[in-house]
Amino acid sequence: MEALDPLLTRLRAALPEAQVAIELNPAVPAQSSLVVDRDQAVTVARWLRDDPQLRLDYCSNVTGVDWLETTSTEKVRVRRVVDGAEQEVEESVERRQPGYLEVVYHLYSMALGHGPLVLRQRTRNRVDDTRVASLTPVWRSAEFQEREVFDLFGVRFAGHPDLRRILMWEEFEDYPMRKDYVEPDDYEHEPTPHDAVLVKARRH
């Protein structure tokens, strides 16, 4: 399969209004991915599926990621007046990155035998604007997996034909795979508690 950079160039030429970026993966597998804005996700997905060089006709996996709010401190050099004279000083700035939910699609081409291409969509935040576009109209195999992501992460897929819980029961109110999920307090005695269970055991 062609590299992501020329692919992105062609994609931008074909769909000038699409907001797509490359998310680099610095880890060993170096599997970088495309991050697509939710409003153009369906058109971009359709292009990926129908483009004769790509023909990504098979969505093998849909999964969710919960990114909590992070704060990072950065050292920035700024010019400032110190003791009457202007100087360049180093200052640490705290940067807050709001949390968001992410949906990751792994795309393959059965026709051309290549893949995977990793496609991501992000929600604006984790609380009230958790909407992304459903890609089920493009790849039918995404239907149940998107339902699972909705069930466990609470991502709302706009345009999904049947968005209901799939693993938990209908009356369930929480999203258990979110990082701030608090499970029901029904700890039971464990003879050899460790790690997270040890923390629970100490509380009881």
Binding site: L167, M168, W169, E170, E171, F172, E173, D174, P176, Y181, E183, P184, D186, E188, H189, E190, A196, V197, K200
Partner: protein, 206 residues
Amino acid sequence: MDEGLRNELSKQGVFTTTLQELYNWGRRSSVWPLNFGLACCAIEMIAASMARFDIARFGAEVFRPSPRQADLMIVAGTVTKKMAPLVVRLFNQMPEPKYVIAMGACAISGGPFKQGYNVLKGIDRYVPVDIHIPGCPPRPEALLHALLKLQEKIAAQPLTGEHRPRHLSPDVPGEFPVPAYGPYDLQPAKNDDVWRPALVVRTDAG
């Protein structure tokens, strides 16, 4: 009839028995399990019913597809919280006398998934379990052993008196409350008449 006279009679070729023994012999020799499996333990249960292990030797080969005809529920596998009400309802729909074997670590306690949000910490929270088989999954021999233990248990059940089993006492109910799906967990989280958490005594020593 005392034991000595009975022995003497059997030496002379006269077989004597009691109604209770006849009744229990009949029940324990044809324990028909309910045909259902929940997870990987069910594969071992299937293996136990096939030729190599042959559960038919102990009269339990007739796996019934309907609870109306079953005597034994082998809870073979992980009971998720979504599945738990269904399992309890199936048990309720079985006619008395009925027995439960909790097969494998998951059915006993939740097993490796015990601290998860979606797995019931043991089916004995809702139904009375007669035999627990440890293992993940237990070998078919372990299931056969459990069946033999259950047969011993049935053989020892008195027909009358204070210690008679549940199905012979008119005032003990044969149905168990089915838990409802709640917003965060099953409601109630356990049946207090059937199961109470183990009492853990903590000491500072040692």
